[in-house]
Symmetry: C2
Subunit: 588 residues, 2 copies
């Protein structure tokens, strides 16, 4: 190695050692003729001193060092002078007194400084990603990503899981989103798809007797880019045979404990909290509740059905509900504040937001006139309203009322600073409905995918009341982010047939769409289930970001471009010919 040490490791114990460091010039300061360089590498910073009274020629050379020059420097480590000690720097008690200098490479003046300040200009950050990645924060993110991946692999391996690589060039199968595709050169007119997930292949591996599979798997989806989505993402894909939901929970809880411990030295509590989908919707209005704060929803349908308030009555008449949120000590909210909340509710399809304020032991509002004194007292009791509290109401069908108020809850969590940013609140959400009704096509759709098993106790409902069938379907949620979703799969053709009957899919359609898995299932498919924690999203939550790109080395921008390498780019004509395709774009 060109160096004897890294720039992050030197301490008082190393004083008087002769060392060689390599790194980048973070800064150069001239103090009364003596030049101080902060030399940076992945591991940290060390101060290097060039003293003209020691070696005049060397000092002269150091005068030409610019920011981001790559140098090799040799010298003796010494204690810093009193008053020069920097307690904010790991190596702040020592400095190198330089004897030799070699410029390994020069640098043009970088377009921005490499320090702890994140550049606002996103284009520049992505174009010069190699400079952005030099920032300690980004280096930390890459390090944590590495550590968590290794921890996951070691943990799963210790539990008997094998990492098995599934192909990237696969057959297109209907999944949630659009596939990226790859034209075949050898088979004219045919295409491969890139995997949205290894779902079918991991189930095939269970049929192959692999028993316990995992893969930190690269997945691709051609979706329009959002803040927490990227066209490429990584998931900790897991599948196990002869397992039940509890077994999968145990594996994932152990896995997460390891990942948090090894990644960011955080202790998380296991077993995780659990709640059913119904409970999550009822209390938090979402199926991925942020449990870092309270502010739970309550249901006031039973009380307000006796009122004369038309909006509430109408919703209840239509088999809807009236949900309420008691926003403690926010009675002073202005009309504008409440309008803002109503806007949030409307995005989630609520028709409006009603409110009451508690003052002098009484509820006040333009709508209290529709309520008897007795009902108002019941409301106060049921919502635990105290003076200064603000009650918010949404009346609508169950899912709309819950989710509109649930989003207001999340909005208020941030606005009122209710969230403990250092906490990781994790829970399982279980017993999701297996089907959801699609109003447009007037039929049942599979909520997850068609291989999700119904709960044993709900099997009989498949033919009588599909809407009530819950699946062996579970999500893990951290701080309001759905980190993973999984299920126990159907492994028997008879049950598969009954589920497909509900959504109106014939065995022939299924064979067409999922043919090879359906065929594999003929030859002894074991009971199996799995889950797939989103690796990028897990890291994003662990590291406290709300933009997933911070945990990628080379993310794409919102137009799915990489400003650094300039992809996607124009094709070569011969290439198109070889691939048997033509462009089909409007001429400009």
């Amino acid at each position: 190695m060109l160096r004897t040490n890294t720039c992050g490791e030197l301490r008082r114990k190393d004083i008087n050692k002769t060392i060689t460091l390599c790194g980048w010039v973070q800064s150069r300061r001239d103090h009364g003729g003596v030049i101080f360089i902060d030399l940076r590498d992945r591991y940290g910073l060390t101060q290097v001193v060039f003293d003209p009274s020691h070696l005049a020629k060397l000092h002269k050379e150091a005068e030409h060092l610019g920011r981001e020059f790559v140098i090799k420097v040799k010298g003796k480590l010494r204690e810093r002078k009193k008053g020069m000690i920097n307690p904010n720097m790991d190596t702040g008690e020592v400095e190198m007194f330089a004897d030799e200098l070699e410029i390994l490479n020069k640098s043009d003046v970088p377009p921005f400084e490499i320090d702890d300040r994140k550049l606002a200009n996103e284009f520049l950050r992505l174009k010069y990603r190699y400079l952005d990645l030099r920032r300690p924060e980004m280096q930390r993110n890459l390090l944590v990503r590495h550590k968590v991946a290794l921890a996951a692999r070691e943990y799963l391996s210790s539990k008997g899981f094998l990492e098995i690589e599934t192909p990237l060039l696969i057959r297109s199968t209907p999944e949630g989103a659009r596939d990226f595709v790859v034209p075949s050169r050898v088979s004219p007119g045919k295409f491969y798809s890139l995997p949205q997930s290894p779902q079918l292949y991991k189930q095939i591996l269970m049929v192959s007797g692999c028993d316990r599979y995992f893969q930190i798997a690269r997945c691709l989806r051609d979706e329009d880019n959002r803040g927490d989505r990227q066209p490429e993402f990584t998931q900790i894909d897991i599948e196990m045979s002869f397992a039940e939901q509890e077994d999968i929970f145990q594996v994932v809880e152990g896995l997460m404990k390891e990942c948090f411990k090894k990644g960011i030295n955080a202790e998380i509590k296991t077993p995780f909290k659990r709640m059913t989908y119904d409970e999550a919707m009822n209390k938090y209005g979402v199926d991925k509740p942020d449990l870092r704060f309270g502010l739970e929803l309550c249901d006031v349908s039973e009380i307000v059905k006796h009122s004369n308030f038309g909006v509430f009555k109408q919703a209840l008449d239509n088999k809807g509900v009236v949900k309420c949120l008691n926003v403690k000590k926010c009675a002073e909210f202005s009309r504008k504040d409440i309008d803002e909340l109503e806007e949030v509710a409307k995005v989630y399809r609520a028709k409006g937001l009603a409110w009451m304020k508690m003052a002098n032991g009484k509820l006040e509002s333009s709508v209290t006139k529709y309520f008897s004194e007795e009902l108002l007292i019941k409301l106060i009791k049921h919502t635990n309203a105290k003076n200064g509290d603000l009650l918010l109401f949404v009346a609508d069908e169950f899912r709309i009322a819950c989710s509109a108020l649930g989003q207001i809850r999340n909005h208020l969590g941030k606005k009122l600073n209710l969230i403990n940013k250092d906490a990781f609140e994790i829970c399982w959400v279980t017993d999701f409905p297996l089907f959801e009704w699609d109003n447009d096509t007037e039929r049942w759709l599979a909520m997850h995918h068609i291989f999700t098993a119904p709960r044993d106790e709900d099997l009989e409902l498949l033919e009588t009341d599909p809407g009530k069938v819950k699946g062996k379907l579970y999500d893990m949620v951290i701080n309001g982010y759905e980190i993973c979703s999984g299920s126990i799969r159907i492994n028997r053709r008879d049950v598969q047939q009954r589920v497909m009957d509900v959504i109106g899919l014939t065995m022939e359609d299924a064979e067409q769409q999922f043919g090879f898995l359906m065929e594999a299932f003929r030859y002894g498919a074991p009971p199996h289930g799995g889950i797939a924690p989103g690796f990028d999203r897990l890291l994003m939550v662990m590291l406290g970001y709300d933009d997933i790109r911070e945990v990628y080395a080379f993310p794409k921008n919102k137009k799915m471009e990489c400003p650094m390498d300039g992809c996607p780019s124009d094709p070569d004509k011969q290439m198109l010919k070889d691939l048997h395709i033509k462009l089909d774009i409007a001429k400009k």
Copy 2:
């Protein structure tokens, strides 16, 4: 879990325990009314006994068990009767005496039996890969693959390397082979490429200050399929900064030691042997010598130049060489045997193969007449020929003579059973030429890629004698397979310019082709180098195969199809429209 134990772990110590197993019915045998089932899972086989005198109804159910049915069976473990003990089976001393049986899933009759015999029909193996993978040999391969990947990760992590994921959707850059490409939906008419390797991105990571990077990286090349090639492959991609060749050797030697130990419990010797490219060509006629056997080539140019044999003289006059192989104790080779060897030589562009046989202390051949007695004695001495030996000669330009005879050497290694199949003979081949002369275009080409650094001592030759410039370029070879290739990279623009001058590439061309890396190099690129062991090929060699597909879970066939999932497949019309492309194939 549905089971208490796996089918591979039960031993004498478990006798009398009540256990539950899940697995596949490997076989059912009826012995005097008692039914014996071999129950299989990933971990092994356990014999299960259904005795009608114990439970008649259960025994009746067991009569219906077919091959590959998935069952759950509960019972007490007992010692096998004397004479029934199977020493070839890990669980051969015990058996389960069944009390309960549940058929978890039936199976159609599988198209082939799941046992240690490999099916000859490749199509069936790939179509029913899930059945082929149930074979213990394939399960072993997946297990070893998993173990080696984990060992590599743990080892590299312990040496300070971070695993960093580089993108799959990238810009096309000129590499050895054809890219697979992905049409962009969002940017009409533009394409992403899939990486042939993360080469440019790992160098960018060095510029990013990542210091030590690795990635067990998925790579794709649209090449015509060969026995040891697949369109998708995996490499242990490594790059490090401030390192020299020796540092990379040390890392890779430690890595291989771990991989062999953890993967197949083999001890390999480090440091590895080393030889220069020139030495490898001279002695073994190839740049990837199989050192599991001797049979070294020698150079007889200095001796035979004094003969009157026109073929030899002509080659030498054209600045060529005459290489010789002493095939010990093979003087009895027939004309047909030698013709066969000549065919091998001709594939590698040799014009012919001359031979002499040693008998009664003399060399005999139709060409000895062109040699004086003195020359023949010198030849005998130089080639160490003994009675019964066969000398083979190729006269041609250096590379053709060496490689033709080198291929004959490899051919004879197999034919004469000279190879110790259990040995792993590993060596480094170093000091490859940096350029090779292309006769067609009459110019120098880069042997590896244009970022490979010349040896320091050869820098001056760049302008005067490019053919003599050796690179800091090294291969690791195991048993005659090139497992990896690597180099120290050029990190300075001045050297880069001089190398590009040799191959006639302007800085503008380079900016066009490798623009973002060239730009990154402006901002302080550290000295760096790397290597990338081919993971599939490493496993193939470790496990003693000569077909790389044996170490893949889901390989493609030679037409780059997957008979199991049926990819590539016909595209959806709407999809083509969304991607702004049309098919361009001749109508049938």
